[in-house]
């Protein structure tokens, strides 16, 4: 017997987030699959003082930091690749409003793996010998830092390597391409570290671009890298990674990537952005209106669209998804 975990985005944020929480997202690359819309909802509900765990910076982190909602952040890359520096994050860090602890991209993945395995530490043959090891923004007075990446001796050879601290974020908002109502998910494109994050986080909320019938998962079980057993709730939100890309579904919105980052460079620009693109919609249809229906159609004309073809027959319509969500009570009603 199976139970629908579909809930609304507003409800997911209301139920599962709180001020000061260790919140992980951005478990995809700066221009790719990230639950950006989850971050917008965090701001709509006024969450603040977050301890953000982002494997890489994304527009979500950029926005959250620009809006002043991030007290601390740990990440491996804080830019936006070819789109340049993440201006909102940069401003928050330079002004001392957000304290950023630096790691490398592999280290962040390893720390999530360590959290998933519940190891006390993770062996590191990277980050050692550089200022990623010697400098800690979380312990500024230690130089060299002694607790960020302490040394550990290999008991076989005596060789000294580093020890990374595992991550076990209280909540992860993970963007996926396809999910079923039970919480089984398919990611198209690089997983980045979403597999590890889904096991490391104490609670996982999926933000899926599309909902499919569970029969899709039974046809492609090897693609279901996030099984329902680790998932708390499923949110359906098409274009949930916008303005970033979701392979198979839509391209990055280059114009908005640039204008958003430009807006976040100043306090005034950020205020205007928040008013328009955070407070300016009330549901999925008005969100898509905000992006612009023409833009939505154009972004969906991606050269990767063929990646979704094998799954099209199982895609659920908005009406079907609404029916499945309505059947979901806190006690968990049977949906099939």
């Amino acid at each position: 017997m199976s139970y629908s975990k579909l809930i609304s985005l507003a409800e997911a944020v209301r139920r599962h987030t709180r001020d000061g929480q260790q919140y992980a997202s951005g478990a995809a690359l700066p221009v790719g699959s990230d639950a950006v819309v989850f971050g917008r909802e965090l701001l709509r509900q006024g969450r603040r003082d977050l301890h953000a765990i982002f494997h890489c910076s994304t527009q979500q982190l950029n926005l959250l930091a620009a809006a002043g909602a991030v007290a601390r952040v740990e990440c491996g890359f804080s830019g936006l690749e070819v789109f340049g520096f993440a201006n909102g994050l940069r401003r928050a860090v330079e002004e001392g409003r957000t304290v950023l602890e630096d790691y490398s991209n592999l280290s962040m993945a390893l720390r999530l793996l360590g959290g998933a395995m519940n190891w006390p530490f993770v062996p590191a043959t990277v980050n050692i010998g550089s200022d990623l090891q010697y400098r800690s923004a979380f312990a500024p007075d230690e130089h060299p830092a002694r607790h960020k990446i302490p040394a550990v001796a290999d008991p076989f050879s005596g060789r000294e390597i580093g020890a990374l601290s595992p991550l076990r974020p209280a909540l992860a908002g993970i963007h996926v391409s396809l999910a079923d109502p039970l919480g089984n998910a398919i990611m198209l494109g690089t997983e980045w570290s979403r597999f590890e994050l889904s096991r490391a986080a104490q609670k996982v909320i999926l933000v899926a671009d599309a909902i499919v019938d569970t029969a899709c998962m039974r046809q492609f079980p090897n693609l279901v890298r996030i099984p329902d057993v680790v998932v708390e709730a499923v949110v359906w939100w098409p274009f949930g990674a916008w303005p970033q890309a979701s392979p198979g579904l839509y391209d990055a919105d280059e114009e908005h990537m640039k204008s958003m980052n430009q807006a976040l460079a100043t306090e005034e620009g950020t205020a205007a952005y928040l008013k328009r693109f955070v407070e300016g919609y009330s549901d999925v249809p008005s969100y898509l209106d905000l992006i612009g229906r023409d833009r939505v159609r154009q972004l969906a004309q991606t050269s990767t669209a063929f990646l979704i073809d094998p799954f099209r027959r199982w895609l659920q319509t908005p009406a079907e998804i609404t029916a499945l969500s309505a059947s979901c009570s806190p006690a968990g009603e049977v949906y099939r």
Partner: protein, 262 residues
């Protein structure tokens, strides 16, 4: 009669020449990817390219990707895995032959700073940088693990400094055998390719020396653009200008002409 080309194109071609056929190579976005796919198109058809997201077998379609998860690099891949796989199993493990990284600052031992600029240095207690940069990303992992790596950077005195204020990715640290203290499986930076020429490490001291200059630059110009006292390797010489075939191959890869603007 030499074809016309930009400094960025020369830098990309000089970098691509460092990549050999059949190698396992990791490319970042932007210049690094153009240099790598130029090599594949020109002289290294069997180069095995990947990105740090674990995208294998792909070539960019429709222009330079905006990032390594951009759909332009995801539309013809044969395999998608993960960061743990690409950066861990293939790069930090020592398996990857060559990586290409960028730098905001690089110093005489090839140490790279991409984390921040601290006016007057950080000091003993850590403080926020005056200018926050992008952080280490996968470059630290490439610098520790890849058999060798290449650094691509615009040649200006503020970038070529005596000592970087923050080591984001280790070059030869303070030179000689300093890397060995950390047991790095990777060999370190084999070249710094700039908008003006090519620097290579001295085999013993690991200090970077001038090894080549481009048709439009000179050893003097390069020394002036370098904040440390740049020495010259024996055998240093002008770098051959791009051949027509090289330029044609590069421009086929650089669909949108990103490098021709430079």
């Amino acid at each position: 009669m030499i074809a016309e080309y930009t400094r960025q194109e020369m830098m990309a071609i000089a970098t691509g020449r460092e990549i050999r056929d059949g190698e396992l190579a990791i490319f970042g976005v932007g210049l690094s990817m153009l240099a790598g796919f130029f090599a594949q198109a020109h002289h290294a058809p069997r180069v095995r390219a990947m990105t740090e997201g674990g995208i294998y077998g792909a070539t960019p379609l429709g222009g330079l990707p905006w990032g390594i998860e951009c759909n332009r690099i995801s539309s013809n891949a044969t395999s998608f895995t993960s960061a743990l796989d690409a950066l861990g199993c293939l790069v930090a493990s020592g398996r990857c032959d060559v990586g290409i990284i960028g730098a905001a600052q690089v110093d005489r031992f090839g140490n790279v700073n991409t984390t921040g600029i601290w006016v007057g240095g950080i000091g003993d207690a850590y403080r926020p940088p005056n200018t926050r940069l992008t952080g280490a990303g996968g470059a630290n992992d490439i610098a520790c693990g890849a058999k060798r790596f290449l650094i691509m950077v615009g040649h200006e005195p503020k970038r070529f400094v005596e000592k970087v204020s923050y080591i984001s990715s280790p070059g030869y640290l303070d030179g000689d055998d300093a890397r060995q203290r950390h047991g790095f499986v990777g060999g370190g930076p084999s070249a710094i390719i700039t908008t003006l020429g090519i620097l290579r490490p001295h085999p013993e001291t690991k200090e970077f020396h001038l090894d080549g200059w481009f048709g439009f630059s000179s050893p003097d110009q390069i020394r002036h653009a370098t904040a440390w006292d740049l020495k010259v390797l024996p055998g240093a010489r002008p770098v051959p200008e791009p051949s027509k075939a090289e330029l044609a191959a590069l421009r086929k890869v650089d669909v949108t002409g990103a490098l021709r603007k430079g």
